[in-house]
Each structure stands twice: as C-alpha cells, then as structure tokens.
C-alpha cells in the first residue's frame, strides 16, 4: 500500500502546506514501508511537479484539468489515483479547499477521515494528535484499520526540502460534469488602511464584550501611535471592517510590536500574527493560548489595565 499526498495551489502558486503534507506523508510512508506519491491537479502541473519533486517523493502524478481548484476534479482524480496505486493512506492539507473535498473523498473511498492533525504516530495503526475544545486540550485518536484520509494543519510539519528523483507522469482523469462552478475570485478587506504596513498594532478581540467598548481600544491605539486591528469575532459582529482582521482568513501581519487585547489566541488568529517581533498579550484567562507566543503577558482585566496604560502615554 502506498501513501498519496495532494498538493494545493492557488492563482499560479503552490501553497506551503503542500510541502508540509509531503513531510507528513513521508513520515507515514517510512512507518509503513511504503512509497510516497504526490498528485497535483490543475494549473501549471508541469511546473508544479518540478517544485514538488523534493527529497523522499517517489512518484508525482500530474492531472491537467482547469486552472484553479475544483472539488469535483480533485475528488475524481484522487479517487482514481488512490485505486490505481492502492493508496491506503491519503494525506491532504487541512485548508479551506482541503475541507471542500477531503470528506467527500473519504466517503467515496469508504475509509475513515481524521481532520486537522497536529501530530501523528504510526505503529500497528494510526494515532493522530489533534486539538479539541478550542485548543484547550489535545487528544490522541486511534483509527481502526489501515486505510484512512488524514488532513494536516498548516505549519505543524516542516516543509519537504531538497531535490528528489521522483518519476513524473501525466494522468488522464475523466471528470464528471460538476454542479458547482467557480465563476471568479474577489479580494476582500481593501479600504482606508493596510494593517500589514503598521509598525505597531493594537489588536482587539472578544474580551471587549460590547461594540461601544471598542472606543477604549481606539483610544489606546491613538495614545501609542498605533494602528487598530482585530480578531475574527469583532469583524464577524460588524464592529470593525474586514480590512482590520488579523488571521488566516484576514491579513498576515509582522509589525515590530503587536499588542493583543482580550484575544485568546485561536490557531487561526495566531497564524496571522506570530511573525511579529514583539508580542504583548492582555487577557483574563492565564491558560489562553495567546500567552504561549507572547513575549510579555498581563493576566488581568483589560478594562482595568487599558485605561492605566492610556494614562501612561497621555
């Protein structure tokens, strides 16, 4: 049985999680004494195949079908490939697009799926490490049988490196007509300010409780000469515009100083700001994951601390 990894690309470029999934796939292939196959579907498949030919990849299958992601084509191609190479283990990115086809593929293959893996071990069978309860705990999950689909969280495995000597072959896939058609893309979050340009960001999260309290954080940003940004719930609530959102689905920021106020530090948020030079966190929950990546932390009520901090700079 071999291991099959699918690469992910968007608008002409491979996404990093493709190389990370190759590392996870190689780990599994080693544990199972199997070959590692990589599939790349749509877009510039020949150019992508060259980039994906990293150390440890035994074979690359290119499927020329359209330019962009189409879950129908991905599922058809991976079903056919998985059958053809007897792929017992399929490793896919736990991305928005990954979650648009991985569960359907597992269902079509009749195998269990485990999503959002942050670690794994393979002995007699697969044991996946994943989070639960909003990152408050980790669990180990045993998977029955030796066939499965696994999706891996971005940033948890190092990217595959080097140059491999994979056999590259083109595969014809019969893609059935789809009832879901991509008609275009839209950039969101443009507007008056680009938070990615700021040297100092004051970022507000759910701990602010009410819309009218946002003003307090605006005052802090003014006092510090900083730009105001936010975590997802604030933008979902319509309290600040989308262009202020830091995180996986918003902007990735790397300011000199990032001050997280009332932000717990969900993984999607951290993905957008962990590259900041200095991270300060103010939060009431001492176990909040934001403190794991902070350089300075205050466990306290933002409604007590922030006014005092504004006074310091007034």
């Amino acid at each position: 049985m071999s291991v099959l990894v699918a690469a992910e690309h968007r608008r002409g470029a491979l996404r990093d999680v493709s190389y990370e999934a190759i590392t996870a796939g190689r780990e599994l292939a080693d544990a199972r004494g199997a070959d590692l196959h990589v599939a790349v579907i749509g877009g510039d498949v020949d150019g992508f195949a060259e980039d994906l030919n990293r150390d440890g990849v035994d074979a690359i299958h290119t499927v020329a079908d359209g330019e962009e992601f189409d879950h129908n084509a991905y599922q058809a191609a991976l079903s056919q490939l998985a059958d053809g190479i007897d792929a017992g283990a399929v490793v896919l990115p736990n991305s928005v697009n990954g979650l648009d086809y991985a569960p359907a593929l597992a269902e079509a293959l009749g195998v269990p799926i485990v999503t959002d893996a942050v670690g794994m071990a393979y002995d007699d069978g697969l044991t996946v490490t994943r989070e639960m309860y909003g990152s408050k705990v980790e669990t180990t999950v045993d998977v029955a049988g030796d066939r499965f689909v696994l999706t891996v969280r971005g940033g948890e495995w190092p990217p595959a490196e080097g140059v491999g000597d994979a056999a590259i072959e083109s595969v014809d896939v019969d893609v059935p007509e789809s009832g879901a058609r991509v008609t275009g893309f839209e950039e969101v979050g443009g507007g008056d300010v680009d938070i990615a340009d700021a040297d100092v960001l004051v970022s507000v999260g759910r701990g602010i409780e009410e819309e009218e309290n946002i003003e307090l954080i605006e005052d802090l940003a003014d006092a510090l000469g900083a730009t105001l940004s936010a975590s997802r719930p604030i933008v979902d609530n319509g309290w600040l515009p989308k262009n202020r959102q830091v995180g996986q689905s918003g902007k990735v920021v790397t300011p000199d100083v990032y001050i997280a106020v009332g932000i717990s530090g969900a993984v999607q948020h951290v993905a957008g700001m962990k590259g900041s030079d200095t991270i300060v966190a103010i939060n009431t929950d001492p176990n909040a994951p934001i403190f794991d990546i902070a350089d300075y932390g205050i466990v306290g009520d933002l409604f007590d601390v922030v006014p005092e901090l504004i006074d310091e700079f007034a």
């Binding site: 648009d100 269902e107 309860y133 669990t139 180990t140 310091e312």
Partner: protein, 262 residues
C-alpha cells in the same frame, strides 16, 4: 423549498477545568448551540422570511438534554426539529461516517432541497460532516460559505467561499446542495420572547436508530479517543505582575524600550 439545518449542542470548557479519563469533567463544561450553526439557522430563517423556503427543519444528534438548545433554534424561527439519539451512540466518539449514516436517514425522510450546517463544531472541530453527507446523498456542495444568495427558480445557490488570506471564491452550486456556513455570513438574531413562547409548542421529533432503519453496527465508530491532556505551555513570556497600575507602568516601560510612542 425545504431547508434542513444540522445543529449541534457543543460543550465549552471553563477557564479552569479538570480532565477525567478521556474527556473534560462534566461539571467544567458549559453547553450551547454551536456558533457556526447559529449562522446556518439564521440563513435558513432568512430564506423563509424572503418567501424562498416553505419550511425550516433542524436536525441534531444528541441526548434528551439537548432539547433546551434545540428550542433556541426553534425560537429563532425554525418550524420544527428532529432529534436523533440512541443508547448505542452513548459514550462513543462518533466518526464522520456514523454521523452521515444518521443524517442520510433523516434526509431520506425529509427530502430537503437545501441542507445548511456550520463549517465545524466548536468542540470537536472536525469540519467534515457536511461535505461527506453531500457525497453520500448525491447533493452538490460548497464548504466554508460566507455569502449566500439562493435563486430558487433557477435552482442555484450563488455563494462565496472564504479562502485563506482575504480571498473569496465565487461559486454557483446547483440545488439540491449541502452548504457549510462560516461565521460572519449574517447577523444571527436573538430569540424574541414571542419566539421563545412559540418554540414551546413546536415539535421536536425524537428518533432512535430503529426509527431510522439503522442498527448499532451501522454507527460503530472507527475512531477512539485514547487520551486527553492539556498541551504543555510553550510560553516563555515575561509575565508582568502587580495591580493594573503597576502592570501598566511596567508595560509602558517595555513599550517605550521597543520604540513605541505617540
């Protein structure tokens, strides 16, 4: 058209919690309607208010206790509810295929044109059931939808899918379809007092496995949680101590060192 909304009562851990065996202690958990599902319910109710949906039915997998949470969805405007539970489901960590077995049977009874559900459940965070269900029942699908416009006459849902990095994919999906709904799609309403009163009279149909033509073997899970633990803190943060004034003072000193000034 008829809209079926999958809803789940999820557990949230208190700030301080204990782990007993392979789960958090019951006394340290608070239960609520899954945040993502709240947006799915709102989307369905808005379709009913726009005259596009004739009926909104919620379906949940959960023990009797979850009826309180389900009534919240009814109070917001869903017409009736189906609750699936069976002793065979007790204590197991249901895998995606088992949940799909249950929902498939309910879909066969209800024959919806559109199935809405949250992208993921806040507690288990799998994010897989909706798309797997679509495959099983032969519906089209789109995952992580943050904009929805249903054209019932044309039998198409125009959606945006929220990709990473501030990019949205515009997609048209033929009905019948399963859509998984992202937070921010709409503004979920609060239940009105009148809605809460009306919800008391709305039907919650309880079904067990035999009602759905299933057996315990059908829902045997391929997944087992073998351990649960608090991840070791990787924090090397300097924790600033003291009352609000003292900690603000020290933080101001740090920020000035880093060159922060108005």
């Amino acid at each position: 058209m008829k809209v079926l909304v999958t809803v789940k009562e999820v557990a949230e851990a208190d700030d301080d919690f204990a782990i007993e065996g392979t789960d958090i202690a019951e006394s340290d958990l608070e239960y609520d309607l899954n945040e993502w599902d709240d947006y799915a319910v709102e989307a369905a109710v808005q379709l009913a208010e726009a005259g596009i949906a004739d009926e909104v039915v919620t379906v949940t997998v959960g023990r009797e206790r979850t009826e309180e949470t389900i009534r919240m969805a009814l109070a917001k405007g869903a017409d009736r509810a189906v609750r699936v539970w069976d002793e065979a489901l007790d204590g197991a960590f249901a895998d995606v295929a088992s949940k799909v077995d249950l929902f498939e049977a309910v879909v066969a009874e209800e024959e919806p044109d559109l199935v809405l559900g949250g992208v993921q459940a806040a507690d288990t965070g799998f994010g897989a059931t909706g798309v797997a269900l679509a495959e099983r029942i032969g519906f089209e699908h789109a995952a992580v939808v943050n904009d929805l416009d249903v054209d019932a006459d044309a039998g198409v849902a125009h959606v945006h899918r929220e990709l990473e990095g501030g990019v949205e994919e515009l997609t048209e999906v033929d009905l019948p379809a399963v859509l998984t709904v992202q937070t921010g799609l709409n503004e979920p309403r609060y239940a009105s007092l009148r809605g809460i009163r009306q919800a008391q009279r709305k039907e919650i149909a309880a079904k067990d496995l035999s009602d759905l033509g299933l057996t315990a073997d059908d829902v045997e899970s391929s997944l087992t949680i073998t351990s649960m633990y608090e991840p070791e803190s990787e924090s090397d943060a300097e924790m600033i101590e003291g009352d609000a004034g003292e900690s603000a003072d020290r933080l101001a000193e740090v920020l000035r060192e880093k060159g922060v000034s108005a």
